[in-house]
Amino acid sequence: MKSNLVNFELFNNEKYQLAQKPHFQICSSWLNNSARLSWQDYKAALFLIEKDKNEKSISFTKEQMDMTFDNKEATSNSADVYVAGVGVISAIGNNTVECLAAFESEKHGIGDITHMQTIHRNNLPVAEVKFTNNELSEMTGLPADISRTTLLGVLAAKEALNDAAIPGLASLRTGFISANTVGGMDKSEEFFIPFLADNKKGKLRNVFDHECGSVTEAIADQLGIKDYITTISTACSSSANSIFYGARLIKNGLLDVVVAGGADALTKFTLNGFNTLMILDKSFCKPFDENRQGLNLGEGAGYVVLVSEKVAKTLKNDPYCKLSGYNNSNDAYHQTASSPDGTGSYLAMKGALRKANLQPADISYINLHGTGTPNNDSAEGTAVKRLFDPHYPPLSSTKSFTGHTLGASGGIEAVFSALAVKHGLIYPNLRFETRMNEVPFSPETKFLKGKQIDHVMSNSFGFGGNCTSLIFSKI
């Protein structure tokens, strides 16, 4: 019985039928007022009618009813949340295999601007995904004139969902929680040029998907996910927050499967915005180096597939890891700058450890936020020192490969973290030469494999003081 076939006529009809059955006595308590037959009662009634037909006995519980009639799993709280699949596209590769190969060969993806028409070409290096919109359109089967963010998001999210290969996905309650910072801004930029000259002009199609939520909706429709969809935008910590909001939806028993992460394409808006803040390095960025000059912007998308304990047991392949800890704290210091002592970063890392019930010494590797700006790395470094001194785990910033992908960075780095746990990897921090004065540690500079990696901490800090840390743990 498919639930959407139900209408009120049928409802009343069945109610009448039920009253004719001997089982009526049993459910009289639900029918104390026959005018008030509810959906739950209705399902019970249907069940009893079915039961009357054949003697197959099923225990009458709400869970059974929900499964039988809604063809969906019943509400159950999941203590742990597992990463069942990962998907990524970035300047160093169009999927997880290519990204891992780039790490191993220490090949970064930063270079001259080739896609955007901007005066900053040949001046400000960026980390572009190598495909043009037309190529991305061919790969996704979507129109080439939609936001590049959607195109990137579809590729990474589909990879993640295919990778997870969840049996019977259609019968599970599935959500899509995404993140981005500027929605369809690349198309809005096109719209506003003619609009600014004459506000009757500008192709409306180009501004229709301006909202952040539009990008998420378009990706969700491609994935066929309907049960719950939302978008988070907390600047550069956006997708770290979407991942742990997704995990909490599972823990609260609201969903069984969540595809979570984020996507952001390079836009002139963000490039010029960061340029006005004078935090873009004109050379390749040098995270956690004493002589760092700023960040390089990047683009891409990264998603993890989170599943409940119950779903994890049905997987053919072992999950990558658990999402064991998370915390969102606010620096409450300045709209764009981090506090000198990294209060927000410290609270986020400490809170994530507490949530995971771990000590600093338990962490095997930290995937730093490490943008390469003097301010971020100093604040983050100070916070790491405060929490981990004197025993520092290996740490590095993969932004030295991918650039800073803003709303996608938490998702992309969550994928790298999950892969680090599964394959025992530590990623190198490229171009590091001189240790920062304020901290007694240096980032890892070599690609290491075959390591015992039990817990990876992933940091994502953003404008507005939004600081989030996630911890991924071996199962």
Binding site: F8, K200, C212, S233, T234, T276, N330, F463
Partner: protein, 354 residues
């Protein structure tokens, strides 16, 4: 565990902010754009900061602070906002300048304040609040997503006194573009009679409405917040009906138990067809109220609906201007809010008397 609305504050196109009157003299507009009535922001924000703030930041910060004052809470356990468009004025201003100046000599302020999390961040900054801070930006369910986050935080025992708000600003550019997209009526209308004009389009609105959610009983609590649910692209009206019945069922209620249903009718023919169909079926025997003629249509307008519901329960009266037909004269104890956004995003919220 029970969740209560401890307090609420609304900057809106009506005199809702710190006002003892309860929509007794509704503000009347002739046109298709309703602008928020600005309170004296200097009572809440320092004069130097006000100058740099865009309208949505000022509305958001002032209503958040007023909400905390009313709830007698200094430091919220979390700050969560919902906004579909974010800081539009700063975004468009930076975009325009970038185009006009051909990417040269741009001042950073508009960019800095253009990020969607600016309102939540500014509240945290002013309060020096290091707690959980998030911003949901998902079209017509941005505010509902923020509410669900708050409900989960309370369930998880992670925080109490959670500040949740829905904010949106309507700027000259967005009003022009949304008019071209056909969201608003083509001719000026009287906002108080939009439900009598059967024509396409609604009227634009804006505002900032904040709530303080707590799991503690208190005689000053406005109402008990029973739950929120959203659903996406229902296949047909029957699915909408079924979802409504199911939602109530989850709270051991049927539609007959509901004293008042507040719907998101907005005067647009196509939009309101959904409500009209429901009024013939599930809502056929309940008292109905509307609110979008008062605040205008915008993606987080349901926050105004929730403000209205919480105040109706606390004050025990339904403002005449909101009544659809006729309303049972007993003070409503159970209120359902049903809203949809282009028949794509639907939301249900349930409030009861404490």
């Amino acid at each position: 565990m029970k969740i209560y609305i401890r307090s609420s504050a609304a900057v809106s196109p009506q005199n809702t902010f710190e006002n003892i009157e309860f929509l007794t003299e509704p503000a009347e507009y002739f046109g298709t754009r309703l602008s928020a009535i600005d309170p004296d922001y200097s009572k809440f924000i320092d004069a130097k900061a006000i100058r740099r703030m865009s309208h949505v930041i000022k509305m958001g910060v002032a209503s958040a602070k007023a909400c905390l004052n009313q709830g007698e809470v200094e430091m919220p356990g979390a700050i969560i906002t919902g906004t579909a468009f974010g800081c539009l004025d700063d975004t468009v201003s930076f975009l325009n300048r970038m185009i006009e100046m051909e990417e040269e000599m741009l001042p950073p302020t508009a960019f800095i304040q253009s990020t969607h999390n600016t309102v939540a961040a500014q509240i945290a900054l002013l309060l020096k609040c290091h707690n959980y801070n998030s911003t949901f930006v998902h079209k017509g369910v941005s505010f509902e997503s923020a509410l669900l986050d708050a409900v989960m935080l309370l369930n998880e025992n992670e925080a109490d006194n959670i500040l949740v708000g829905g904010t949106e600003e309507l700027t000259d550019a967005s009003f022009t573009i949304l008019t071209r997209l056909g969201l608003y009526k083509r001719w000026p209308v009287d906002n108080l009679s939009i439900f009598n004009t059967s024509s396409k389009g609604s009227i634009g609105g804006e505002g900032a409405v904040f709530f303080l959610l707590s799991n503690k009983e208190n005689t000053d609590n406005l109402a008990e917040f029973k739950g929120v649910q959203t659903f996406y692209k229902p296949e047909n009206i029957e699915e909408v009906e079924r979802r409504i019945v199911l939602f109530l069922e989850q709270h051991n209620l049927t539609i007959e138990d509901i004293d008042l249903v507040i719907t998101g009718k907005n005067g647009d023919l196509k939009n309101d067809a959904v409500y009209d169909q429901l009024n013939q079926s599930v809502f056929s025997n309940v008292s109905l109220a509307n609110f979008k003629h008062l605040c205008g249509e915008y993606p987080t307008a349901s926050s105004f609906g929730l403000w209205l519901a919480a105040n109706i329960i606390k004050r025990g009266e339904v403002p005449a201007v909101t009544i659809e037909d006729e309303v049972n004269t007993d003070p409503p104890k159970k209120i359902l809010i049903y809203n949809h956004y282009f028949n794509t995003y639907h939301s249900l919220m349930l409030l009861t008397a404490c």
